[in-house]
């Protein structure tokens, strides 16, 4: 290979890598930039001027902060429900031999595999035929969210649990820990990273969901629904403030997790 060829080989890969990263992060840069935008008109999608106003008064945009709060409330509740139910399901599927275990394993995958629009509309049909057409709102959204988060939680926790050597729990029992102590002192701490990542996944899925939520929300407006509604009239810059905050929050969580893992590894 020529010297030029080698130079290209050495640098081209780096260049492509950087280009791909740039491609991935560009939307996030735009969100952060636009959170400081002072748009000339409602319909403006360009950066017209710098301002702190959006950050100082994010709730000035009518209805937005309410929708964020609702999304957080639903996200946390759905996460709690789906994580508890899903963890129990994962334990049952991995640890117990029962009739119908194999089909149950397959069925937990189904919600992940079916299109959201189909699940959303079928849920709506279900709620309406159950006579709940007047009650669509927080609770129907929550039920829908727990339903579709559940499969992801089961799959994530199952993976962690399957990698856990049953002899470690047997060793705990052998060393005078009863079933309860064995679970809380050995099983749970070892499975916890799986449960935590399942919970984070569930929250982001719930917070993010538009299609299923939109069909089952009744009069309620979640944050994704708000953004969709606003986009028909021009996206207010405050939405980008919320977007930036969410991004920074996620980044912080990842960094904290990474640092924690490194510190544990070094000890």
């Amino acid at each position: 290979m020529t010297r030029l060829g080698k130079w290209i080989g050495d640098h081209l890969i780096l260049a492509i890598g950087l280009a791909v990263l740039f491609y991935m992060f560009l939307p996030i840069f735009v969100v952060i930039l636009m959170s400081f935008n002072d748009p000339a008109s409602k319909q403006s999608y360009s950066f017209d001027g710098f301002t702190w106003d959006n950050w100082a008064n994010p709730c000035d945009e009518f209805g937005m902060c309410e929708s964020v709060l609702l999304s957080i409330k639903i996200g946390l509740s759905a996460t709690l429900g789906a994580t508890i139910l899903g963890t129990l399901m994962a334990f049952a599927l991995v640890r117990h031999r029962f009739r119908g275990r194999a089909p149950a394993n397959v069925f937990t995958f189904l919600p992940m595999a079916s299109p959201e629009i189909v699940m959303g509309s079928s849920l709506l049909a279900l709620f309406v035929s159950a006579g709940l057409s007047g009650q669509l709102g927080f609770w129907t959204i929550l039920v829908a969210h727990i339903m579709f988060c559940l499969s992801f939680v089961v799959v994530t926790v199952k993976a962690r649990l399957a990698g856990l050597d049953p002899r470690i729990e047997q060793a705990a029992m052998d060393l005078y820990a009863n079933e309860w102590q064995t679970f809380w002192r050995v099983t749970f701490p070892l499975v916890f990273p799986g449960i935590l990542s399942a919970a984070l996944l569930a929250f982001s899925l719930s917070f993010d969901d538009f299609i299923i939520t939109n069909l089952n929300a009744g009069q309620e407006v979640t944050f994704p629904m708000f953004v969709w509604g606003a986009s028909l009239r021009g996206i207010p810059p405050q939405i980008n403030v919320i977007g930036t905050i969410m991004f920074l929050l996620a980044l912080t969580l990842v960094l904290v997790g990474e640092l924690g893992a490194r510190r544990r590894a070094r000890r």
């Binding site: 002899r167 052998d174 060393l175 009863n178």
Partner: protein, 388 residues
């Protein structure tokens, strides 16, 4: 089959005794019988080895004593107390698991302290420090198991079990994951610790050398039953089944017919050779036999050489293979009826050496001969190459 152990019935707690007694223990998994009507007594303070190939039921036996499996039939007593159906955490028994099963999220100190803390013992710090001292792991106290070598993890597993001063310590292939050199070292170490603490050790292994080196009593297990039980020397010198003869060391088994004898000896006709065997090394009332002899007990001599009177002698052999192993030379010799026998000759310089094709005679002392029932499979327990 021999009588496995002297089973007392009913099991009684001798003064301060805590013998481990298994009575009629059977364990079935579906149609598969893992352990078949096992009777076994392990005296307090013994170093007892359960030796057998994988799948022979030794680990299942151990797990039943630990409480990790429930016997289908039968009872398990320790010191007179029926523990057959007690939960694992209610038994005065601790286990060193195969692959150790250390708690990966706890420090070495907390791993060792685990049992004491669950029992709400006082003085945990001091006891753990002492135990870490004993297994020479004091500097590792604040590390996690993942940061230790295999040998160190093995010692943590031992310390974690031993610190609880169980009445019986169970060891499930505890040295299986270590390399040969470390294994030898740990064998001596384990034996030393056992002598020091005086706790009953029940050691499960498929390594016959390990079992013989460490244990006072070895039980050879096969297909869910104990084939033979006794001191290592007794087992080796006087195997009572073809399985025991082949699984512990190697044996030459030649077909023969008991032809008579006097008060102390029996005579056997084996392919025309007249052999003698002490009566107490022959099963009573059986005429079709395998004549057994260990390879290192056989001497080779050039064809037609005069041998000492009273030796067992087989003429007409031809050397078919010679392997020089350093301390000894290993010969394969074909006899007129086509069977190949194995012979180990010490390289002491006092023995004549032979080459492939040399005609030879085989001779050995009658008291090294043993007889087995010819109804048993002569290849039972022969170790398959590569199967560790």
């Amino acid at each position: 089959m021999t009588q496995p152990g002297d089973v007392q019935d009913p099991p009684q707690a001798a003064e301060g005794g805590s013998d481990l007694v298994l009575q009629g223990v059977t364990k079935r998994f579906g149609d598969f019988v893992a352990v078949d009507d096992l009777d076994l007594t392990v005296p307090q303070g013994a170093f007892f080895a359960l030796l057998g190939p994988s799948g022979c039921g030794k680990t299942t036996t151990l797990r039943m004593v630990a409480g990790l499996e429930v016997p289908t039939v039968g009872t398990i007593h320790i010191g007179g107390q029926d523990i057959s159906h007690l939960k694992p955490y209610k038994r005065p028994v601790n286990t060193v698991f195969q692959s150790y099963a250390l708690f990966p999220h706890l420090t070495i100190f907390e791993n060792v302290a685990f049992g004491l803390r669950r029992q709400k013992k006082s003085d945990v710090e001091r006891q753990v420090d002492e135990m870490l001292e004993l297994v020479e792991l004091t500097p590792m106290a604040s590390r996690k198991p993942g940061q230790l070598s295999g040998g160190q993890q093995q010692r943590v597993a031992l310390a974690r079990a031993l610190i609880n001063r169980p009445q019986v310590l169970l060891l499930d292939e505890p040295l299986g994951a270590l390399d040969l050199k470390l294994r030898r070292q740990m064998q001596i170490e384990l034996k030393r610790i056992q002598t020091e603490v005086g706790i009953t050790f029940v050691h499960v292994t498929h390594d016959q050398e390990e079992a013989m080196t460490m244990a006072d009593t070895v039980a050879v297990m096969n297909a869910g039953i104990i084939e033979q039980m006794g001191a290592p020397k007794e087992l080796y010198e006087h195997p009572r089944t073809t399985f025991a003869a082949n699984f512990l060391g190697q044996s030459n088994l030649v077909r023969g017919t008991v032809g008579g004898g006097d008060g102390s000896n029996v005579t056997i006709d084996a392919h025309g050779a007249r052999l003698v065997c002490p009566r107490d090394r022959a099963p009573a009332g059986i005429s079709e036999v395998w004549v057994g002899i260990r390879p290192e007990k056989v001497f080779l001599a050039g064809a037609g050489t005069e041998t000492a009177d009273g030796s067992n002698l087989m003429r007409g052999g031809v050397v078919t293979d010679v392997s020089f192993i350093g301390v000894s030379t290993q010969y394969l010799t074909r006899l007129p009826w086509g069977q190949e026998l194995m012979i180990f000759e010490q390289n002491s310089g006092a023995r004549e050496s032979f080459r492939v094709g040399d005609p030879v005679d085989l001779h050995w002392l009658p008291e090294h001969t043993f007889l087995l029932d010819a109804a048993q499979d002569a290849s039972a327990g022969v170790e398959i190459e590569g199967e560790d």
